[in-house]
């Protein structure tokens, strides 16, 4: 059997049914604009759009991906449509990759919005675009798998959103997006290093502004580690909790 037919079909179905709906598209555009303006207008220091860009990209991906997984996974589980997918003769890993691929693409698309806006507002020459792309893809992967982990840990869509905020809002302040890690109180810094976005944002900063705290290889390695860990913890939870 060609499992890739099933993979592409699930991806296409999710894109059509969830991701390409007008409210989600507008969310993907408005949210990054709002974040950019908020930080730009409120900042009294000599902060530039280029300085803000890594953080805004990271946030756009984080919020876009984690929000969508609550719908595509938790909602389908609740309506029992997910059972239909579990009955398909494809492996659980491939099924979950298909279910998360839409969110990963949505996250990457969300990252393009602030990047394009910034290109109109400031000079982006000297940006290492290849590294930006790698950073965006890895942040999209880790954020999506974080969303997956949250989605399979709860029963209701509202619980998924609430549980997501438990992770998302601390990340806004603890991952160096707008407040450099060196400015954080010492006791909070270990927490920062437990959050995947710290490494993703550092990777993007390195590619966009040249400033970074950690070696890029460490950032890459940690993001891959978080991705794999969250994905396998999620599939383990599905086997344990949903296939009773």
């Amino acid at each position: 059997m060609n499992a890739w037919i099933a993979f592409l079909s699930i991806l296409k179905k999710d894109m059509q049914n969830y991701y390409l709906k007008p409210p989600n598209i507008s969310w993907g555009i408005l949210f990054p604009i709002a974040w950019t303006l908020m930080f730009f207008l409120r900042s009294e220091a000599a902060i530039t759009i280029r300085d803000l860009l890594p953080g805004v990209i990271s946030l756009s991906i984080l919020f876009g991906t984690t929000s969508m997984l609550a719908v595509t996974i938790t909602f389908e589980k609740k309506s029992r449509a997910f059972e239909r997918l579990l009955l398909a003769p494809i492996s659980l890993n491939l099924l979950m990759l298909a279910k998360t691929s839409g969110a990963i693409l949505f996250g990457i698309g969300g990252a393009a919005v602030p990047t394009i806006l910034a290109a109109f507002l400031t000079d982006l020459s000297g940006v290492a675009w290849g590294s930006v792309l790698i950073g965006v893809v890895l942040i999209a992967l880790t954020s999506t798998f974080l969303g997956l982990f949250i989605a399979v840990s709860v029963k209701e869509v509202f619980e998924a959103q609430t549980f997501s905020n438990f992770f998302r809002f601390p990340m806004v302040f603890l991952c160096g997006l707008f407040i450099p890690l060196t400015h954080l109180p010492l006791f909070l810094r270990p927490v920062s290093y437990l959050l995947p976005l710290t490494y993703g944002n550092d990777l993007l900063s390195s590619a966009i502004t040249g400033a970074h705290l950690l070696p890029n290889t460490l950032n890459l390695g940690m993001l891959l580690l978080f991705s794999l860990g969250l994905f396998f913890m999620s599939t383990r939870n599905i086997r344990r909790k949903w296939i009773l």
Partner: protein, 320 residues
């Protein structure tokens, strides 16, 4: 080799044993009914058979594929109709069917003609482009069955296929299931409608509190029940006290079946002549004497101790 072979299948949730070492098999080309009251373990058993629940102990073999190692192989050959229609609301009937086909690796160019055939077969062709959410309950049920058939499964599991739908749709579904079976599809059916099981099933298993208490063909189950014979007499006058007739026939159990009728039950064959003589002696005229054949419902009540009507009502309550 059997289409489905279950040995010592057990499922425990903590201290609760939901399914207690059940054994049964389903022959190729058979319609097998799985009947039992709410909470008997039917859905848990089905979930284990289709791979949505893990067994605590025992073995399952579906179309020669043993679980859990060959679960995915088996899933290629089974179709599942859950007790609730679980297709995608936003997608049309046709899109739902081609999507379900794609889960089995069937490309759209191959699945679309098959989907259109199924839509014709279930009288849904006119609404093929309508969103699933706009379908009536009966139409949703029919499309859910069509979705389970899109990849031409050899073994079809149906959980309450006609529950809560209109009479016409239910009749059509029963007709289509018979046709499918005649064309070689093996069917595993759970239902609360005893008459449906009676009409459709070749063999039936009754499950109560996690145990299979009786398995057999409909005829075998009836014969088992017929070890007790019942005769009903309708008389010309209302009946008074039954004590004198009971004294005259101490080997039988006698009860009122209506104002002018009484029912006689005996583990031995009931000889009508002594009763006719007795009624003549006490001045009662017999209008009718009827040997009562048990229905599958009688067998069910006898085996499970649960009135079928009560079971149906419980099910309606559960659906609400």
């Amino acid at each position: 080799m059997k289409a489905l072979h279950v040995q010592n299948l057990t499922k425990q949730f903590g201290d609760l044993t939901a399914v207690n070492g059940v054994n049964f098999f389903v022959e190729y080309g058979e319609v097998f009914g799985f009947l039992g009251p709410n909470g008997a373990g039917k859905t848990t058993t089905i979930n284990m058979l289709i791979g949505l629940a893990r067994m605590t102990a025992g073995t399952i073999s579906v179309m020669g594929h043993s679980y859990p190692d060959a679960l995915k192989m088996a899933q290629r050959e089974i179709g599942v109709v859950p007790d609730e229609s679980n297709l995608y609301d936003e997608m049309s009937g046709l899109e739902n069917l081609t999507f379900c086909a794609s889960l089995y690796g069937i490309p759209r160019k191959d699945s679309e003609p098959r989907a259109l055939d199924l839509l014709h077969q279930f009288d849904l062709h006119d609404v093929k482009d309508k969103a699933f959410k706009a379908y009536s309950k009966g139409m949703k049920r029919k499309l859910t069955i069509a979705a389970a058939l899109i990849h031409k499964p050899s073994l079809l599991f149906l959980d309450e296929p006609t529950s809560g739908i209109d009479v016409a749709s239910a009749r059509q579904i029963r007709y289509e299931l018979k046709e499918l079976n005649q064309n070689g599809t093996t069917i595993f059916l759970t239902t609360h409608y005893i008459e449906e099981a009676d009409r459709l099933c070749d063999r039936i298993a009754f499950i109560v509190a996690g145990d299979i208490v009786r398995t057999g063909t409909v005829t075998e189950l009836m014969q088992y029940h017929e070890s007790e014979q019942s005769v009903e007499f309708t008389l010309d006058q209302p009946l008074g006290d039954l004590s004198s007739i009971q004294e005259a026939f101490p080997q039988t159990a006698i009860e009122k079946a209506g104002e002018r009728s009484l029912r006689i039950r005996s583990v031995q064959s009931v000889d009508l002549l002594p009763f006719m003589r007795y009624f003549d002696h006490v001045g009662l005229q017999v209008y009718e004497a009827r040997i009562l054949r048990p229905s599958l419902e009688d067998v069910f009540v006898n085996v499970t101790g649960i009135e079928a009507e009560k079971m149906k009502n419980n099910q309606r309550g559960a659906h609400r």
